[in-house]
Amino acid sequence: MTSSEALVRVEGLRKLFPLNAGFLRAPTSFIHAVDGLDFAIAPGESLGLVGESGSGKTTTGKLLVRLLDITAGHVFMQFDGQVLDVARLQRSDSKTFRRKVQMIFQDPYESLNPRRTIFDTIAEPLQVQNIGNVLDQQERVAELLNLVGLSPPSTYLFRFPHELSGGQRQRVAIARALVINPAFVIADEPTSMLDVSIRTSIMQLMQNLGTQLGVTYLYITHDLAVARYMSTRLAVMYLGKIVEMGATEEVLQRPQHPYTKALLSAVPVPDPRWTRTPVEIKGGISKPIDPVPRCRFYDRCPLAAKVCEDNDHPPLEDKGSEHYVACYRV
């Protein structure tokens, strides 16, 4: 993918959260929640962002929709030939930005206002962006309810969230994200709060709608099986860094980074013929507070060597066929 055809291009994206800041007192340290990400997403593809809890997935997602201010770096998005720099959105650009970029949140019990009807919830992007009159909006919302499998729409339009199940609520949240025809949707673990039995149907729905409406996804999850199902490419995150990235099957079949290998060895294998050498990693994930300049994975890495300690975190390098790995010993 050349950079000009990318829908989203992220360069050196960073987010630091200050710690111990006080009134008139400068913060003494920072959490490096997202620490220099570089990736691009082509139109129509779906990039899966996987990693343990605390690796910075949600923070990345929130930076891309500007729910958080960007500490450093660039996020370029290109819609209909118009290039936006998300870190420095102009007033005139922000209108395009809000029409083209949407987010689906993790918890459908939290992401719907309990006092607003399903209609008001789904129509919100249309209402705040002044798209169509009330009748248009009503029809559009009904159409979306059909699309996400809540039909007939008239039985759902004027109900309140507490009258719906978790799965139905997440369908409503998906409808809200898609109602203005976004080009890029960030989905932050949209199935992790749902019953296992309905996860698959929600994932299927998102995939079908993605293809049908031409939506590009950034799909955040900690579940490799979900990532495998939902994404064409995969980026593995560890403490604010991408440690491995490539085509989904390539990364899962031929993982190269010790962390990815460890993650994969933790997943139960449905195929009995597939043997895998288990990888041991020590300890759990910590918080990236003022990290020392060495490989972020050093403390837990079974392959750790002097080179990993003496140098800063390894750069993400192409190991052939767009399979990127950040490791000195691969």
Partner: protein, 336 residues
Amino acid sequence: MATEERHNPFATAQPAGDGTTLDQQERERLRAQPLWRVRLKLLAGTLWNNWKLFTENKIGLIGLAIILFYAGLALAHPLLMGRVWDPLIYDPVIGFDPLAAPHPAPPSAQHWLGTDPLGRDVLSQLMFSTASEFILGMVAALITVTIGTSIGALAAYFGGWIDTFFMRLADLVITLPAIVLLIVLGGLFTLDLPLLALVIGILSGFGATTVIIKSQALTIKVRTYVEAAWVAGGSHWHIILRHIIPNLLPLTFLYMMFTVTDAIFAEAILSYFGLLNIRMSWGLMIHTTQSAGYLLNFQTWWLIVPPGLSITLLCAAFYLVGRALDEVVNPRLRKR
């Protein structure tokens, strides 16, 4: 069909064929009911549900019954004055009954609650005052919650210096003893009823009410649906008006009830000290009794019991309704 030819604002969004577009029947069902009527119905439904919850609580119903009883008294007074009672005798301020002397006269067929030391009918005074008590309470409550809700929501949402300023102000107002302040104000200016309502409204609006509503607003501000509204393109005002304030309203309503109690109580105390410029009120009735030397005289109980009991009952009634509403808006408090 003409409607089909209208400009389609979602031009790129025509999901093809597979049953995802609306069929004609569904479309007509949507058009059959205008949105405002649907919303009205929903509102009625919500109110009805809340009413059912409210009625599950006995103390709330007792409070409501007392409030309705006094509202009845207030409404009946002008009717009685117009049709039954002779204004020369029964006027609450300038009436005088020469036949009932010596005053204060005990309850009788003509004067159910007797007369006061100036020969005026106590029942008429009591009923006449009720309306002002209600108006005072309501106006003060409205001012309180208007200030409390807007300042609370703004301080929680924007934080920063707005928050700091109003919270320090609230600390200041809370530490001021309101009654003492009102007495001082009453000594310096002639306080009348509208001014009293304003002062009480402002004091409680910038004081405790703001702090409580702000802390509630803080919990709403961090909800994911607020983030979703922002991602949808909503402005700060959209979020404050459509997400934060609607979720504050139940609490707001609750604090209205408590402010009414405070206002009626403050009126009684100020009138008792003769610091309120008002034609007639429950507090003033006690003041008259006291200045004529009958305050602790149990033989003339009819002078002190009706206004004293009314103040207590009406204050308690609004408080009880508030408590019951608390259970409606905070489901965690509900026992079941």
